[in-house]
Amino acid sequence: MTKHVVIIGNGISGITAAGSRPNKFGWPGQDMKGVHGMYSKQDLDMLEERTSFIKHGVVVGGGLIGIELAEMLLSRKINVTFLVREESFWNRILPSEESEMINRIIRSHNIDLRLNTELGEIIGNNDGEVTSVITKDDEKIECQFVGLTVGVSPNIEFLTGSGIETDRGVLVNNFLETNAPDVYAIGDCVQHKTPPTGRRNLEQVWYTGRIMGETVAETIAGTRIQYRPGNWFNSAKFFDLEYQTYGIVNAVPGDDEDTLFFKDKKKGYALRLNFLKHNRQLKGVNSLGLRLRHDVIDRWITENVTVDAVLNNLNMALFDPELYSRPNLQNL
């Protein structure tokens, strides 16, 4: 946990950028030796140390950090059991086709992927070191490491009694100001009172932290400006498959939305375009194994271009390295 206080110009401004911490939901044994989140450099150091002598690890939580942690364990030749509460990997965010592609990739790397499976309790030995986990279906899995990757929560405890308003995070207005004068909050610890359009009130993703920092820097340097992130975007890499998303692609399209999904089984890439039924305006894009130009897709979404125009001009948006074959959408 880090706290930064910055002093600039005439006044004194405080900025809390206290970050977040891995969630633990009160499982028995969750604080034993060998049970870790994957958040900080210290977590990484502990993981490196622990993986030098263990055989089997269990990763709990089917999100982006979970799959990365599983991949890290594999790189040290450790067998992994991956417990995912949902019926398919990350399917609260990913539509079923994409989610199913990732399930298959996870399994192709010999990870024991357990869908519809929740952690019950963590069992240890007399030294307080983890030896196994028991799932809610009463199955016992021997392991010497448990990775808890079930999301993060803002670090706000240190503000108790400070007079700064908190809820799940540090409450801020559109200028990232807390209720205390000249005290700002940015990054993972923030909870927006009124989030910008199309955004959630807690949004723990790397680039919102950067944009918040840029915003507050501008404000304390003399120009008071609001936090204004543009269209949503994100990216990840699932083993060797790159994923990019732009705009709004919900796991299940809204009633007013329609979707086009292209997939090339041989080359292993996929592209999804979501658009409004009535005027065919582009709402969001998912790509797997295809690199897209952020600027171009962002502009298309902002300018409400139609999905047909997108398909006709897709070459403008491709960002794959040179000499790659262009995706042939007819064959998808």
Partner: protein
């Protein structure tokens, strides 16, 4: 028992090490004799041979060991040289003593492995090549397409551990012998005789052996590179290209030219990397060869004044450095496991800018003196005649920096030490790339997560991430366009592109995703 990757890998390691052991074993087994015949075979003229035999005294009847023959012939040649100088017969003086000692030793080889040369040559090269290919075939990291660098920073061979330094020490010994004391490696050269005999009908010289090994390295480790980066078509085609230019242009065409009694030329080597292009002996050879020789002079000059600026304008220096060049070819294939060892510090960048352009100036001055001396024999620059400058440049840049340091430092300072700090052609290409080229590496909006893979694997020590974080295009004189930054980026942020010169430098744009104009 089923055959697993592990079995293949271990068998491969065993075969490779066996071949490598045999290769090194030959170094300690050679026996030599000196006779009138072997002296004649070594290419010396009769007067020299007479004086040499005089100096050596009665020719030893027994076979000699390597140190013995090197000592006896070396001493005799130096004494003979002294005698010739006293008698003012400078035309008889042997200037390249190590080469002559090598020639006498090699033509006097006897016993083992000379007698079993064919068999040994076959064994050494089959075992090492087959072993290496089996190691790749059995590497589970290559089972799925996708780049994996697990453990590269901590493994002793690639993380500046004991194995890395041991490899550097071995290479240092090998290269020092190759360039300065070739007689110590007559046996490895002899191992390539069977190949040389089949191609040119002549026994191998040290440069044939080196060219052959160099080509085999690019070919075999190029195959490794292609397997490793097979998910990336840019990487695959680029490697096919360097393999092609090495095997055909650098290795085969010069051999064919030799068979046809034509002057030597590597048609893809460009001045000032090919620093001896304007030397009088080479220009003389070309002129004597007639039409084909004039074509070679014209081709060489065309490469310098047309190909470099025009192709670099359209594609950046990568068209040469990572698609054509032999030094680049070895760096990209054999040097691939070491690319992360390049120094990313600002200090290294500052040193690079001074060193590389100094060498370009040195090469230019030396060449100016050379050309001047072609027209005005006896002319001097800085009080030195051209041949002295040529000698200094050849030793310092040609042998020490390009030959020895460039490769020896792979496991210590990365695979592009020569290209980054010293190569005068890279300096010339870099100036064009920096100021007049359509090439740039573009960054992708706000997608950079600052993971640092790009900077870590940049063999030229460019801090690519610093640009990607700011959304700035990368326009740098040193970038060889290998494309690895783009290949290892997990979020699709980097792309090598050619586009309008005007738009290529972007200073501090607002990253896509922030609607405020904060600039």
């Amino acid at each position: 028992m089923t055959l697993t990757d592990k079995h293949i890998r271990y068998t491969g390691k065993f075969l490779f090490l066996a071949g490598f052991f045999l290769f090194n074993l030959t170094l300690f087994t050679g026996r030599y004799r000196i006779t009138n015949d072997t002296l004649a075979l070594s290419g010396l003229n009769e007067e020299m041979i007479t004086v040499l035999i005089n100096e050596i005294g009665p020719l030893p009847a027994d076979d000699l060991s390597k140190p013995q023959i090197i000592k006896i012939t070396g001493t005799a040649i130096r004494k003979a040289n002294k005698l010739f100088r006293q008698e003012n017969k400078s035309e008889l003086v042997v200037y390249n003593v190590p080469e002559t000692v090598f020639n006498i030793s090699k033509s006097g080889m006897t016993g083992f492995p000379e007698r079993k040369k064919e068999l040994f040559s076959l064994l050494v090269f089959t075992l090492t090549i087959a072993g290496a290919l089996m190691i790749f075939a059995g590497n589970t990291e290559y089972n799925k397409p996708g780049i994996r660098n697990n453990g590269i920073f901590v493994r002793p061979a690639t993380g500046r551990g004991f194995a890395g330094y041991a490899l550097a020490a071995y290479l240092l010994l090998f290269y020092t012998c190759l360039y300065f004391f070739p007689a110590w490696i007559t046996e490895p050269v002899a191992l390539t005789d069977p190949i040389s005999m089949r191609i040119t009908g002549q026994p191998a010289g040290r440069w044939f052996m080196y060219g052959f090994l160099y080509t085999v390295f690019i070919l075999v480790l190029g195959i490794r590179f292609i397997i490793r980066y097979r998910n990336n078509r840019y990487q695959v085609w680029r490697t096919v290209s360097v393999i092609f230019f090495q095997t055909i242009f650098a290795f085969s065409i010069p051999q064919i030219l030799a068979v046809l009694n034509q002057p030597y030329m590597d048609l893809k080597n460009i001045w000032p990397l090919d620093y001896s292009f304007f030397f009088s002996y080479r220009i003389g050879e070309y002129i004597n060869a007639g039409t084909i020789g004039y074509f070679m002079i014209g081709w060489g000059i065309m490469l310098i004044i047309i190909a470099v600026p025009v192709l670099t304008y359209f594609f950046g220096k990568r068209w040469y450095c990572s698609w054509v060049c032999g030094c680049g070819g070895l760096a990209e294939t054999a040097g691939d496991p070491f690319r992360h060892l390049s120094d990313k510090s600002l200090k290294a960048w500052k040193f690079e800018r001074i060193s590389i352009y100094s060498i370009l100036v040195f090469a230019s001055v030396m060449t100016a003196a050379t050309i001047a001396s072609l027209f005005l024999p006896g002319s001097r620059i800085f009080g030195m005649p051209a041949n002295i400058l040529q000698g200094i440049y050849g030793f310092l840049v040609g042998a020490v920096l390009a030959g020895v340091a460039g490769t020896v430092l792979y496991p210590v300072m990365g695979n592009r030490v020569w290209c980054r700090f010293f190569c005068p052609l890279a300096a010339y290409l870099g100036i064009v790339q920096r100021f007049r080229s359509r090439f740039r590496i573009t960054t992708n909006g706000g997608q950079c997560i600052s993971c640092g893979n790009c900077s870590a694997y940049c063999e030229m020590g460019i801090d690519v991430r610093a640009y990607a974080q700011k959304g700035q295009n990368i326009v740098r004189a040193s970038c060889v366009g290998c494309g690895i930054c783009s290949a290892v980026c997990p979020r699709g942020v980097l792309k090598l592109e050619n586009g309008p010169v005007k738009e290529r430098v972007k200073i501090n744009p607002v990253l896509t995703g922030n609607l405020n104009d904060i600039v």
